[in-house]
């Protein structure tokens, strides 16, 4: 396979960024794609930034600046922070709901508004889509399933070499039936988002 695809994912510790990454990697492997993914743990659990990668057709598990075809941001400030990883003309999918870092939540520092972030991202990428990931998760039945809504939107944009049925099958194969049901609902909700 000569087509390469690099997806950079970013979020906040505890959001389930790594769960989404593994699900996507399993889905890619289930259709026979040469997939590698990478993640940096360590202190991530304590509310820090969690970054992960998914690469198809590459040996490296790492994505350098300007190399990502797709940027998936599970929190808008982190989407903006990771923008340097996106290649010119790349695709951005992001949550539109903020989880401000403590310094911002307590008024010691300021952060750009979601509208600012949307505008900056739109100006710098090929196409972008912002969706209310946590709300969609709650609507589907569990706030954590919001990440899967973001993956649903990614499928709907045609940005992956496989469709949402493949993800749905992977969800069914790897999660308990009750959890799978919620996540498939989130997948559908997300898939309905991109206009």
């Amino acid at each position: 396979m000569s087509t390469k695809l690099r997806i950079f994912m970013t979020g906040v510790g505890g959001q389930g960024t790594l769960t989404a990454t593994t699900l996507l990697a399993r889905a890619a492997l289930s259709v026979g794609l040469p997939v590698t993914s990478g993640e940096i743990h360590g202190m991530a659990q304590r509310g820090g930034v969690v970054e992960s990668t998914l690469l198809i057709g590459c040996k490296s598990p790492k994505i350098g600046p300007g190399e990502a075809d797709i940027l998936l941001g599970f929190e808008p400030l982190e989407t903006l922070r990771a923008l340097p990883y996106l290649k010119p003309g790349g695709v951005v999918l992001s949550s539109s709901e903020t989880m401000p870092p403590p310094s911002v939540a307590t008024g010691k520092e300021s952060a750009p508004s979601v509208d600012d972030i949307r505008a900056k991202v739109a100006a710098k990428c090929g196409s972008s889509c912002f969706l209310p990931v946590r709300s969609l998760g709650v609507q589907a039945g569990a706030v954590q399933s919001g990440n899967i809504a973001l993956l649903g939107a990614l499928c709907a944009m045609g940005a992956l070499p496989f469709g949402k049925e493949v993800l749905a099958n992977t969800i069914r194969a790897t999660m308990k039936p009750k959890v799978a049901e919620i996540n498939i609902k989130a997948l559908e909700l997300g898939a309905a988002c991109p206009a």
Partner: protein, 625 residues
């Protein structure tokens, strides 16, 4: 559910974390004995072995430190068991003493040491290159670059180790431990039960008269291992041309992508080194013959580069060798595809493209607000630090140690002034206090206390040092993922039947000035610290309260209440008035809305520490979380 790691059938392909692939490789080799001390990025290896231990055909233990872990397995291999010992890179320093003599006595049952190195210091205090230990101790060294190789090399290292009774090094880096990739399984080997220790003093007791011939035998073994490295499938030549590249470890993955990126695939000669020590000298000599330029790609120290330069000199091969002495590649941090592409173009005499553009270009934005890792809401360390800071302020020097509590370095707690390594808080703190008579408070967690704090405490008692040691006992090894330690009440497999009591240990080594508190009781904690402050000599405060994450997940503790700020709270402003818990505690559940402090009920863990700081914060019944 049956785990593919134990029960997967040969030929099946699974997506595995590098660390899970190591577990499967060990299972395929017939692993019989696993000991470890956890540490990022190695921890998923022992944690997976532990989780699967009820159905696994191996003995597993979390040892109290890396030296002990290696010694326990060192004994097990003398008794004939095939052993794996896992730790992070700095742990090998702790284990270096047994390591350098185990290669004299040898490992009759086989023994592999996993050293998980951390280029870039993602979660470590240094980025030392443990390939140098392979040279120092005389260990064959394997360096995987993919999940499949992590599995295959673990198996090969264990098998070779057993065949030659040679302890071996499996050296990974963070990216390898934490990548995921497809792994095709193979049939596990079934080994006979360990035969038991066979008495042979000349082989196993390194008194000087025996140690000298042991060293001779160790050198002979290295030559046998070199012959294996020469023929190893993990060392492979590809491509053609007058420019050559040698790469090892994860750099091989970057090189493979860089060859595609630069269009140089097939146009340069490549030597992939996976079995990297002893150096396959004939293979490398043949590879170098006829080359005009050789690029060596390896992260951290110029280990291969230096050895290859010496080899070229010895063989009389004249060629231009590029690497990191002086360049173009750096000696610090991780590599990536772009960095290797640039070095490759330089070696091949190709022009460098204009700086690779990213989507954002040069964004003139001011730096974004950081999101540093922080002590969790409800973390008992916050309570202890707040009390110590209230009593001592900046008048004490805070000697810190390794664990979640190192995060106390952040303002407003600022409870970490210096830090060396695991267990150093007490010993380095003792020395710092003695040198110039400064007041020193040392902080150490429960697992770190068992790891190597006890020796420092005994030393402080014996040498009559003047230090207040605060043992932050959160009943688990929190930072690395809640691994059991000798003091825990419970693990995720059940109760700990042999709980070692920290207070008894402290009293047992001769400490008489001791207080024990629950740090969430701020008044009692403050009183205890005041009392200890008034005394001199070795004083110990044990601050005991379970990590709230561990309490919820493993101890089954449900949150019964949450804190909230009362509506009429005029003083709960962010202006520094009132109890000012916003600025003194900095709990992640706090936020400011319309100029007033508020508490996020979803993040609040119900520890009720803030209630004790401000009368305007009250408790209400919370949802069970």
């Amino acid at each position: 559910m049956a785990s593919p790691l134990l029960n997967g059938a040969p030929g099946e392909t699974h997506l595995l974390l590098g660390n899970e692939a190591i577990v499967r490789g060990a299972v395929e080799a017939g692993i019989q004995f696993v000991s470890c001390y956890p540490g990022t990025p190695s921890s998923e290896v022992p944690d997976t072995f532990f989780r699967l231990s009820p159905e696994g055909a191996y003995t597993f233990e979390y040892s109290v430190n890396e030296k002990v872990a290696l010694e326990v397995s060192g004994g097990a291999t003398l008794a004939g068991a095939l052993c794996l010992v896992t730790m992070k890179h700095v742990g090998v320093n702790v284990a270096a003493d047994p390591l350098l003599t185990l290669t004299y006595t040898g490992a009759p049952g086989g023994l592999v040491l996993l050293s998980a190195d951390d280029p870039g210091c993602h979660s470590s205090q240094n980025e030392q290159d443990n390939r140098i230990y392979a040279r120092l101790a005389g260990l064959p060294c394997f360096e995987p670059s993919t999940a499949q190789e992590a599995k295959d090399m673990t198996r090969a290292a264990l098998t070779i180790s057993r065949e030659l009774a040679a302890p071996a090094l499996l050296r990974t880096t963070t990216r390898v431990n934490h990548l995921r990739g497809p792994v095709t399984l193979a049939e596990p080997t079934v080994l006979p039960k360990p035969a038991g220790f066979q008495r042979d003093p000349a082989r196993f007791v390194p008194i000087p008269a025996f140690a000298r011939p042991m060293h001779q035998r160790q050198l002979e073994r290295i030559e046998k291992l070199r012959a294996l490295a020469e023929a190893s499938p993990f060392n492979a030549v590809s491509g053609a041309g007058a420019v050559g590249v040698v790469a090892s470890g994860i750099s091989r993955a970057y090189l493979a992508d860089a060859l595609d990126e630069t269009g140089l695939a097939g146009k340069v000669k490549v030597l992939d080194l996976g079995f990297t020590y002893p150096l396959p000298e004939k293979l490398i000599g043949d590879f170098m013959a006829g080359l005009s330029t050789l690029l060596v790609v390896e992260e951290l120290e110029p280990v291969l580069e230096t050895e290859i330069r010496a080899l070229a000199q010895r063989l009389g091969i004249s060629l231009n060798i590029l690497g990191k002495t002086p360049g173009p590649l750096p000696r610090i941090g991780e590599y990536d595809v772009a960095m290797v592409s640039a070095a490759l173009r330089q070696a091949a005499g190709l022009p460098q493209p204009e700086t690779a553009a990213c989507a954002c270009g040069a964004d003139p934005d001011v730096p974004l607000a950081n999101r540093p890792p922080n002590l969790c809401a409800g973390c008992p360390h916050r309570a202890t630090y707040a009390a110590v800071r209230k009593v001592y302020g900046d008048t004490a020097v805070y000697s810190s140690d390794i664990g979640c509590y190192t995060l106390g370095i952040l303002p407003p707690l600022k409870a970490a002034d210096f830090l060396v390594c695991m267990g150093s808080s007490i010993s380095a703190g003792s020395g710092a206090a003695k040198a110039a008579g400064q007041t020193v408070v040392g902080f150490i967690g429960d697992s770190t206390f068992f790891h190597s704090g006890i020796t420092g405490l005994i030393n402080a008692v014996f040498n009559q040092h003047n230090i207040l040691v605060v043992i932050l006992d959160n009943r688990t090894t929190a930072m690395t993922g809640h691994q059991p330690n000798p003091g825990v009440d419970k693990t995720n497999l059940g109760d700990n039947p042999v709980r070692v009591d920290i207070e008894s240990v402290v009293r047992g080594v001769g400490v008489t000035q001791l207080r024990k508190v629950n740090p969430l009781n701020q008044k009692a904690t403050l009183m205890a610290i005041e009392e200890l402050k008034a005394l001199s000599g070795v004083r110990v405060l044990i601050a005991e309260e379970p990590c709230p994450l561990f309490a919820r997940r493993t101890l089954g503790v449900k949150r019964s209440q949450v804190a909230y700020v009362t509506g009429d709270c005029a003083s709960a402003k962010a202006d520094g008035s009132c109890g000012d818990c916003l600025n003194t505690l900095a709990c992640p559940a706090f936020y400011v809305q319309d100029g007033s402090m508020a508490i996020d009920p979803l993040l609040c863990s119900g520890c009720m520490l803030c209630l004790q700081f401000c009368k305007n914060i009250k408790a209400r019944k919370g949802d069970a979380k």
